[in-house]
């Protein structure tokens, strides 16, 4: 009986019996990344403010008085001034976060679900099904994203739901492509073949071996799309294709405040600042996430 315990050459002999998995490692690296951490905190603050808006905002975002219209930043009682209908800017910005964040994040979320499903199935099954799915996806890739978003949204008509639907359609193709590409790579690895050799069926292999290794890169890519989605969503509202007045939403606010740039330019620019902050935070966070997940083996 060969029960000799050999080390098989060059091991850390004193390593602990139970070691950390992949995600704890990612979390650890992420926590050390100061930039990503800062962005995460900023985002958290904005999200919390949006969620608890009724408690955080000083005023009612829909009530305004023409007498108080377009007051500058720093006015007592209205920290960030008032808009063209006399409504408090700070409150509108905080409440605006609700719609803007929802319209920005939801399409990516839904596109992630649908795109991943399409891409993973296409990548795993391969062959003709793969070609069929990916060619269909490619047709939508043939449109520049802004054009597609505007076209679909314009065709459907203005409204929050329509804008979100349009954006979801815009983001499914890139996510599907990434999902298919990663799945195809993973599928050709030896451990998937070994799993097949063990007799596992298709769904089992996907569940145990593919998903865990594929969702990571897909998710990171999705986070990088959130900033684009936010800008596009606000852009649609800016064009009048998204939210309708008097709902507070950053893109719509930029639209209605446009004429105010001649009288109160900095107040008019405020909503864009919010979009910029959120967008750049998501971008930096996504970059940090990508670095943290890029383990050198």
């Amino acid at each position: 009986m060969s029960a000799v315990t050999i080390n098989g050459g060059g091991t850390p002999v004193d390593a602990p019996a139970r070691t950390q998995g992949y995600w704890t490692g990612v979390g650890r690296r992420l926590r050390r990344d100061k930039v990503a951490l800062a962005c995460a905190l900023v985002l958290l603050a904005i999200v919390l403010a949006a969620v608890f808006a009724p408690f955080v905002a000083p005023d009612d975002p829909t009530k305004g008085s023409i007498l108080k219209r377009l007051m500058p930043i720093g006015t007592p009682g209205h920290l960030l001034g008032t808009d063209e209908l006399g409504r408090d800017m700070l409150s509108r910005l905080i409440f605006g976060g609700r719609l803007s964040l929802t319209m920005g994040i939801s399409p990516v979320f839904f596109a992630l679900m649908l795109g991943s499903l399409l891409g993973i199935v296409a990548g795993f099954v391969g062959g003709r099904a793969n070609t069929a799915i990916m060619r269909t996806v490619d047709v939508f890739f043939a449109f520049p994203s802004v054009l597609l978003a505007v076209a679909i949204s314009g065709a459907l008509g203005a409204g929050i739901a329509n804008a979100m639907l349009a954006l979801t359609i815009v983001f499914v193709p890139p996510l599907a492509r990434v999902a298919e590409s990663v799945t195809t790579q993973v599928r050709s690895l030896d451990y998937v073949e070994a799993a097949r050799a063990s007799g596992a069926g298709g769904w089992t292999i996907i569940r145990v071996h593919i998903l865990g290794n594929v969702l990571g890169p897909i998710f990171v890519y999705a986070t990088s799309l959130v900033s684009v989605s936010m800008i596009l969503a606000a852009g649609l509202s800016f064009l009048g294709l998204g939210t309708k007045p008097p709902d507070p939403e950053w893109g719509l606010m930029l639209n209605t405040l446009r004429t105010a740039i001649y009288t109160q330019p900095w107040v008019a620019a405020l909503p864009g600042v919010m979009i910029f902050f959120v967008s750049i935070s998501f971008n930096l966070l996504s970059d940090g996430l990508r670095s943290a997940m890029d383990v050198q083996r």
């Binding site: 060969s2 019996a17 998995g21 992949y22 063990s198 865990g212």
Partner: protein
Amino acid sequence: MSAVSLLQVRELVKRFPLKGGMFKRGGGVVHAVDGVSFVVEAGETLGIVGESGCGKSTTARLLMHLIAPDDGRVLVEGREVGPSRARNEGGSPGGLTLNELRRTMQMVFQDSFASLNPRLTIETSIAFGPRVHGTPEREASARAQDLLRKVGLDPARFAGRYPHELSGGQRQRVNIARALALEPKIVILDEAVSALDKSVEAQVLNLLLDLKADFGLTYIFISHDLNVVQYVSDRVMVMYLGKIVEIGPVGRIYADAAHPYTRALLSAMPTMDPAHRTEAPPLAGDPPNPIDPPSGCRFRTRCPFAEEVCAAREPLLTATEDGHRVACHMAHAGSGHSKAAALAAAA
């Protein structure tokens, strides 16, 4: 042989179509495995050697049914692999389902790292096979830990680890344990030690030999390293461009190979023994295009003894003596080759 051989392979064929290239010349086909037949007896180790592209790995995958053969049959213990119901017609024993095949034959791959799912612990990876076949979790875990012990890794320290925390040799041990988890009779080792450092390779090879004795396994050992194959094998099979050129007991092959290709391979083996220094010229010419193999004997373009008959007719794999077969006109009397005539005269 009264008993049925453990594994019988008959005329396996696998062709890979080439996609239309840049200029739509498509339609070319790579004959990766072209009519391969051999048997493996229970308890032996069959070594398979050959250069890259000769079809060894494809053969392994065909045996495992990871890819479907275009033609040919694989029989395990006399039962043909395939959908079971239909086979009973001819009176032969019921066929082997894929599931049953999986429990009979397993494989260890070359790349120790790519063979393990980086997201799963070692124990989970090993227990995966049994779990798929219905073994309850606790029992599967226990078996996994037991196997870890048998391959020389202390389960208390290794069961919860992840692949990236192990060295190459340790990972390969895990792969072996994983292959054994389904209690197979045959284990195919596809370049399983090729990627390891020499010292580690020796340890793993010895482990394989011990495990074979303990579990009563049968091995198919694929490698391009002739020294290693000599060390572990009972019989050796030499492949070239999708065909078997020679197969026989290891002693016979290494001492006095019949096929010129085998001789050339063996002469290229590095050895410390001054008595075995070779002055024979190395193989001439480039490995031919697998899409368009030479007519007749595929080796003739590099063979120093090629004659007309070699281009005209393909030499079949025929027996020269008990257990030894070779596919070369020189070795068979009456083939038309000048050297064969000498054989006939001597006989």
